[in-house]
């Protein structure tokens, strides 16, 4: 946000109990199951607003997976129930000239002296960032969990068993990658929020010939070494070995993010390629749609993609690799909220990039919505392919 103080504060407040506000986030949970067509329902070409009941009636019952997100009892304002959810298409760009811009809101807050705020906890490159997009992973960028719960199949009218199988195969790949290459066996009990969290304990030694199997990390683990998070000396030696593992993970990520089959090695590599194609078909190219928006952001100067997921860090990294998100997410832009929750992750991110930056949160669920509102971050809800397309259009037209 460009403006600390009151200019920034009210965005989140607007969604708390303000009557007359149209906050229809959870509309889809109201829809009864009905026969499915894929959501490429014909959309009228003209720009008139249309009551979306017709559009949304072709969607199935909102996935069970998300029901816990949309229970309305505690937060009536966020889950206002009106009958239909209206959506709008953009009309043609205006012919008339736009009024010349004369004024800006002067930020008289002395904290913002000059463009580069000294108080920001900035590292290389972070100080150039002007806009941060905070993405949720599951069911926003990738379709994975809902394959397993069949909710995706129900919603979009796909074969339940076939999608389940796809989910299971992908799950296996994820855990294989995580265990075999990303030390998940070692790290499961002590996974971090961010890959650099234990870097302080690293001594920087060359890992080219380091043997992770026999370095005693596992024995220490087996002996009940408790991982209490970064900075706590549960054994300096043990912490250093932990740091080596995260360093190796970072190296692997950067090396293979554009070339997964090489890491997986045949025949797993081929199986992965095949599975990806099938998932793409089954999900009507959901991930590809998300990647269009992600790519646009990644290639735009001053913009960055950050991920905050409730998956543990190592499996999340595995997912990124397997869904080929490496090119648009640097590994040090991935945060796992398993231990500290999304709200705390958002706080860390805002601490990192500063308050003079504009943030946008993109997600499908309640937790990120609430985290965004708490920090006055605008929230872009994703629940259908259309939402990804709209996001991409908005980015393309430079409205975001």
């Amino acid at each position: 946000m460009a403006y600390p103080g009151i200019w920034a504060n009210s965005y989140g407040q607007m969604y708390q109990g303000a009557p007359g506000n149209n906050n229809n986030y959870a509309q889809s949970s109201q829809y009864p199951p009905s026969a499915q067509t894929s959501q490429q329902a014909p959309i009228p070409a003209n720009g008139q607003a249309e009551y979306g009941a017709q559009y949304y009636a072709t969607q199935g019952h909102y996935p069970n997976y998300h029901n816990n997100y949309y229970v309305s009892s505690t937060q009536p304002a966020l889950t206002a129930t009106s009958g239909s959810q209206v959506t709008y298409q953009l009309q043609e760009p205006p012919n008339e000239a736009i009024g010349e811009i004369k004024y800006t809101i002067d930020d008289t807050d002395r904290r913002r002296a000059g463009k580069k705020s000294k108080k920001r906890d900035t590292e290389n490159g972070d100080s150039e960032i002007e806009r941060v997009f905070i993405w949720d992973l599951d069911e926003t960028i990738i379709i994975f969990h809902s394959l397993l719960t069949s909710s995706y199949a129900q919603r979009y009218g796909k074969d339940t068993n076939a999608t389940l199988q796809l989910g299971l195969r992908m799950e296996e790949l994820i855990f294989n990658l995580a265990d075999n290459h990303l030390f998940f066996n070692d790290l499961e009990e002590c996974d971090q929020v961010h890959c650099d969290d234990v870097a302080a304990d690293d001594n920087g030694q060359d890992l080219a010939n380091y043997n992770f199997q026999t370095d005693g990390f596992r024995t220490a683990n087996a002996a009940g070494a408790i991982c209490l998070g970064p900075g706590v000396r549960g054994g300096v030696d043990w912490m250093r070995k932990l740091a080596f593992r995260y360093r190796r993970i970072k190296e692997l990520y950067d090396t293979f993010k554009d070339n997964i089959p090489e890491l997986l090695s045949s025949p797993v590599g081929e199986a992965w390629r095949q599975l990806r194609t099938e998932i793409d078909q089954n999900t009507d190219n959901w991930c590809a749609l998300a990647l269009k928006a992600l790519g646009l952001i990644h290639n735009r100067p001053g913009c960055v993609n950050i991920m905050v997921t409730t998956t543990q860090l190592v499996p999340a990294i595995a997912k990124c690799m397997l869904y080929e998100l490496g090119p648009v997410f640097n590994i040090d832009n991935v945060y796992s909220a398993t231990k500290i929750g999304k709200e705390s992750c958002f706080e860390r991110i805002i601490q990192r990039f500063g308050k003079n930056v504009t943030y946008v949160c993109v997600g499908d669920g309640r937790e990120e919505e609430i985290a965004a509102k708490t920090h006055n971050v605008p929230f872009w809800p994703i629940s259908t392919h259309n939402d990804l397309m709209a996001l991409h259009q908005a980015l393309e037209l430079e409205y975001l």
Partner: protein, 243 residues
């Protein structure tokens, strides 16, 4: 898939507008607003109206801005932003008339001249610098003892989340303002010779006119200048008229 034009929900529109507003992208904000279809839901949505108000501000169309701000009652969550737009616009207009930037006093006068409309203001008095809680603590303490010791000031600073200097200044100003208020009140009473003043529990003094000035004559027949007595104290103790 690329042929179908995407549809935007209200939340997405609001998200987008918020980003454009806070990044101060006036051109894109206006362009987007012009591309929204005509719809009652959109016309009446507070967040969208706020965006329109902001757009009007950016292009200097203050008549339109004021019109939007006064057009309907806004929920409290929107008040801060809308108030800021109102004030900024009025300040700018005043500066144009004045020909130079406004100082704090100038702005104060603008605020008095163009009070916030009730559509964007709940009528609560001007916002104070210190939190209401802190001010309440200080007020309570003052009524018990207007002269806190250094240690008490430190305690107060801690309780109120202020610095010792701020606490000291608050007390100093408060005492000064009390004196000013009292002086305004008591000067009238002291004006008349023949008036008696209760100096302390059992001592009365009469205001006498000596050599053209008013003085106090005590029972021991000493005359004292009125200045020797602290006015608030005298005023607090009492007076009577004896003619």
């Amino acid at each position: 898939m690329s042929e179908t034009r995407p549809r935007y929900s209200i939340e997405q529109i609001i998200c987008l507008l918020e980003v454009l507003e806070t990044s101060q992208n006036g051109e894109k904000l206006q362009e987007f607003l012009m591309r929204l279809p005509k719809s009652e839901e959109l016309e009446n949505n507070e967040a969208i109206l706020k965006a329109k108000a902001t757009a009007a501000f950016f292009r200097g169309d203050f008549r339109e801005l004021y019109k939007i701000l006064e057009s309907r009652q806004y929920s409290p969550a929107f008040h801060d932003r809308l108030q800021q737009l109102w004030l900024k616009a009025h300040y700018i207009e005043a500066e144009k008339v004045r020909g130079r930037p406004l100082g704090a006093v100038g702005k104060y006068r603008v605020r008095r001249k163009f009070p916030l409309p009730r559509t964007i203001w709940d009528g609560e008095e001007t916002s104070y610098c210190f939190k209401e809680k802190s001010r309440a603590v200080l007020r309570d303490w003052y009524l018990k003892s207007p002269y806190p010791s250094p240690r008490e000031k430190r305690e107060l600073a801690e309780m109120t989340d202020l610095t010792v200097t701020q606490v000291s200044n608050w007390f100093k100003n408060r005492r000064q303002r009390e004196r000013a208020a009292e002086a305004k009140g008591t000067t009238l009473r002291f004006m008349f010779s023949g008036i008696e003043l209760l100096l302390n529990e059992d001592e009365w003094a009469t205001v006498v006119n000596t050599r053209g000035t008013l003085e106090l004559a005590t029972e021991g027949n000493r005359t004292r200048s009125l200045q020797d007595y602290s006015k608030p104290k005298l005023a607090a103790l009492g007076y009577r008229a004896r003619y």
